[in-house]
């Protein structure tokens, strides 16, 4: 069923932050049902989406992720009553911040995948992988990480002038 992929084409690195009760179980179900999906995704298990700190997403991008998925229980299904509701607000704000900074939000996916939705897990992961693959690598953070430029460089006329006056 798999179409042959051309060799040496870009394979994105996708990091998924998921809650253990719904999405992790949903991904397990995809496995038990022997569904197939791209192997790009690496899953990090959390007790609840409420535990997922926006800093982890930032960290994932900085560590070279090309796409990030955050997934948990549907509203009302949270094992911890309301963790996913808090997460929903937190990420609604955080994605707006990333967008404003200049991160293409097509690289950041949020989803609700229940323990019964093995098929949805496959769909979400496949869609994100394919979308990010077509977008190419997330160069922004990688470039930043490569830059050794010391921000104190005196590279403006004003700074040079001020420096000379000291």
């Amino acid at each position: 069923m798999h179409t042959e992929k051309p060799k040496n084409s870009f394979e994105p690195k996708i990091i998924a932050f998921v809650c253990t009760w719904c999405t992790y179980a949903g991904a397990d179900l995809a496995g038990t049902s022997r569904m197939q999906y791209p192997s790009n995704v690496r899953v990090l298990k959390f007790p609840c989406t409420g535990r997922i700190d926006p800093v982890f997403i930032l960290k994932a991008f900085q560590q070279g992720a090309d796409g990030v998925l955050v997934s948990g229980c549907h509203p009302g299904d949270c094992h911890y009553i309301a963790g996913n509701f808090h997460a929903r607000r937190r990420f609604a704000a955080f994605r707006k911040l990333l967008e404003f900074i200049g991160v293409d939000l097509n690289r950041l996916q949020f989803s609700w995948v229940s323990a019964a939705e093995g098929g949805k897990w496959v769909e979400v992961v496949t869609d994100l992988t394919e979308r990010v693959r077509s977008m190419g690598p997330m160069v922004e953070f990688k470039e930043l990480a490569m830059e050794e430029q010391w921000s104190g460089t005196i590279d403006t006329p004003e700074l040079k002038e001020a420096y000379n006056q000291i």
Binding site: H2, K13, I15, T20, Y24, A25, A27, D28, A30, G31, T32, R34, M35, Q36, Y37, S39, R42, V43, L44, K45, F46, P47, C48, G50, R51, I52, D53, P54, F56, K59, A60, Q63, G64, A65, H79, Y80, I81, A82, G83, H86, A87, R90, V122
Partner: protein, 665 residues
């Protein structure tokens, strides 16, 4: 330096078919900190676990990663094995290379690379794992039951029979609840009071049960195993210890015309009263709003006639504090008062059916009182307006229930059955009468329920009309009921003498306030929410609190009793141990860094976070910090993600562990 052991499972061929397990073992063996790595056919098998235990000891391993199936499958197995080998179980992690890898990928190269990365990630994580000791909390083996209806009575009796003390709190002057009001019960038509009152007496006489009637829950503090309950015992104005229950006060009370709530306001009672003759306790209470002594200061007759001198006008509310380990909430239901539109409620009234305006339009509970042998009419079905026997009676089902446009979408569950019962009771008492029932559909699941319903039609001559009533109005002494029979497709008009509305079951007024005191969740109708709709239907998400009866959702008597006994069993299981053990995945506060902004407390759904004062040796307040009660914390970690300085950390999911995993990728 860590000495990590990595065990790669073949899972027969389930993993090894698509993952080159030997290569994964070799690759991860090169990672810093990994002292040992191997692959094995079946790690979860006995020999596999023996291999694990033996290697831990032989290789002096400090941490273990088992790469196999989902941790949801075998994490417990391997943690137990690791514990048996002398390591703390939380120093073992599983890498899921079956459900998340070998089963979902076909390409061996891709799957092997992915498996190596997954294992590598868990190796980095396990390095940061800490020894987590099991948390134990003491258990106070006494239970609180809130609500003295059949649910509360059953739960209290079961727990008390199990040998544990029970505090039973009832808001009304007597226990018994709605079941005491019923005439007969479906599907057997046995007299409700005949089966109810012995249980009420059992409660009163049980050496393990402390009964507080005319009392309410003021404050709930603490957590599972260790609650502190403050109960407000309202002033009864009669000393329970002195009162003999002779009833002279009630017969002498000059105020006699107060509608009795127990009789749905059909009967009258004096200002000093017991709600019904079989009340438990049989101690009267003075209704201070209607008593002349309290209104004008004059009278005082009851005190004069009371032989034992039990009447005490000076009595005040008292607050009682009871320590308990578990709470059963059994606050029951109330009927939807259709005449009034409750203020601020999204639920709209049914003014169009004349309830509250036309005296002979009554609700189901009022009919129960009319049919009850101990009711205001002595069991005769008589019209409230003129006391005449109704010859044509119309029952209308689903009033309020299943009416989304009116604000209630659920089915009240018991109305189909009790209406069938009403038609029978009516037929037994008014032989020449005719009962009509307007219904949407009859819902009769339950043992002998459908047979019972069919009997009402086939033997007791009730006429069931499928369709709703469109209009209802008074015409002289008759009530004209207009509706449609959708089965036949004709309009129906019945001139009835009495109309009985099967009104929706709702939680008791104030159910939300009580839930807030208890820290339990409730739905938009104020029914209390169970922890899991299927698998934990009697537990609340808040540990140590259990539900019984209609406070959780509409229920009939058998279901209520079953749930009450189930809740009692849960309480006794809790009380079977002297200490509670729980997984140590809980949050902890680093007090030196906490600035006390309490963002964590704001997001905690369990109320597990408290404010703690830090004082110096002289006792001066240094600062107020957050404190996580490990008995209450459920380990979701929302607090940690919310804390700006991350000074609250969830054991087992610390930032260090998670960042180590991200950095491993």
């Amino acid at each position: 330096m860590s000495r990590i052991g990595v065990f790669i499972c073949h899972c027969g061929e389930n993993i090894s078919r698509t993952v080159d397990v030997a290569r994964v073992a070799a690759e991860v063996g090169k990672l810093p900190g990994v002292a040992f790595s191997t692959d094995y056919k079946y790690m979860c098998s006995d020999p596999g676990q023996t291999l694990l235990k033996k290697t831990i000891q032989d290789q002096k391993l400090s941490h273990v990663v088992v790469a196999a199936c989902s941790p949801r499958m075998h994490e417990r197995t391997f943690r137990k094995a690791v514990e048996a080998a002398g390591l703390n179980p939380f120093l073992c992690e599983m890498a899921n290379i079956r459900e998340h890898c070998s089963w979902v990928h076909e390409n061996i190269e891709e799957a092997t690379v992915k498996a190596t990365e997954i294992v590598g990630m868990m190796v980095e994580r396990v390095k940061k794992n800490r020894v987590l000791p099991t948390i134990t909390v003491p258990v106070t083996k006494r239970s609180l039951v809130i609500g003295g209806g059949i649910a509360g009575i059953q739960a209290a009796l079961d727990i008390a029979d199990g040998g544990h003390e029970v505090i039973l709190v009832e808001r009304e002057p007597s226990i018994g609840g709605h079941m005491a009001q019923l005439s007969e019960t479906f599907p057997t038509l046995d007299c409700s009071q005949c089966i109810m009152t012995p249980k009420m007496v059992d409660v009163a006489n049980h050496p393990k049960i402390t009964l507080y009637t005319y009392s309410e829950i003021e404050l709930v503090e603490g957590y599972i195993g260790n609650f502190q309950i403050t109960i407000r015992k309202k002033a009864r104005s009669v000393d329970e210890d002195k009162c003999t229950g002779c009833g002279v006060c009630m017969t002498k009370c000059p105020i006699k015309k107060i509608p009795n709530k127990f009789d749905c306001n059909l009967g009258m009672r004096p200002a000093i009263y017991v709600p019904f003759p079989q009340a438990v306790p049989n101690t009267p209470v003075i209704d201070r709003d209607n008593c002349t002594k309290f209104k004008t200061g004059k009278c005082g007759l009851c005190q004069k006639v009371c032989g034992p001198g039990a009447v005490d006008y000076e009595q005040e509310d008292t607050l009682i504090v009871e320590p308990v380990g578990a709470i059963v909430v059994a606050t029951g239901f109330d009927l939807y008062t259709i005449a009034e539109k409750p203020k601020g409620s999204p639920i709209k009234g049914y003014g169009e059916f004349g309830h509250g305006k036309i005296p002979d339009v009554i609700d189901g509970m009022t009919f129960e009182r009319l049919a009850s042998a101990s009711g205001p009419t002595g069991g005769k079905i008589l019209r409230p307006s003129d006391g005449k026997e109704p010859k044509q009676i119309v029952f209308i089902q689903c009033i309020g229930s299943r009416a989304r446009e009116k604000g209630i979408s659920y089915c009240s569950k018991v109305c189909c059955m009790y209406t069938a019962k009403h038609t029978m009771l009516y037929h037994h008492k008014v032989h020449d009468g005719q009962a009509y029932v307007f219904f949407m559909d009859a819902r009769t699941p339950g043992k002998s329920y459908d047979e019972f319903w069919r009997r009402s039609i086939e033997e007791e001559e009730a006429v069931y009309i499928r369709g709703m009533v469109s209009r209802l109005y008074q015409k002289g002494k008759k009530i004209v009921v207009m509706g449609s029979d959708i089965a036949v497709g004709v309009q129906v008009e019945i001139e009835a003498d009495m109309v009985v509305l099967a009104t929706a079951i709702q939680p008791q007024a104030g159910a939300d306030t009580l839930a807030q005191k208890l820290g339990i969740s409730y739905d938009k109708y104020n029914f209390y929410s169970e922890a899991h709709a299927k698998l934990r239907p009697v537990e609340c998400a808040t540990a140590g609190i259990y539900l019984a009866g209609a406070c959780q959702g509409p229920k009939d008597i058998p279901d209520t009793v079953s749930q009450a006994s189930a809740a009692a069993a849960k309480v006794m299981a809790l009380f079977s141990k002297d200490k509670l053990e729980r997984e140590p995945i809980v949050a902890r506060v680093k007090e030196s860094a906490c600035v006390g902004c309490f963002a964590c407390k704001k997001v905690c759904a369990y109320g597990a976070i408290e404010e703690k004062e830090i004082r110096d040796r002289q006792g001066n307040l240094v600062k107020v910090v957050a404190y996580v009660n490990p008995g209450v914390c459920s380990g979701c970690g929302t607090c940690q993600a919310t804390c700006p300085s991350k000074c609250v950390e969830l054991d087992g999911y610390t930032d260090e562990q998670i960042v180590a995993m991200i950095e491993a990728l």
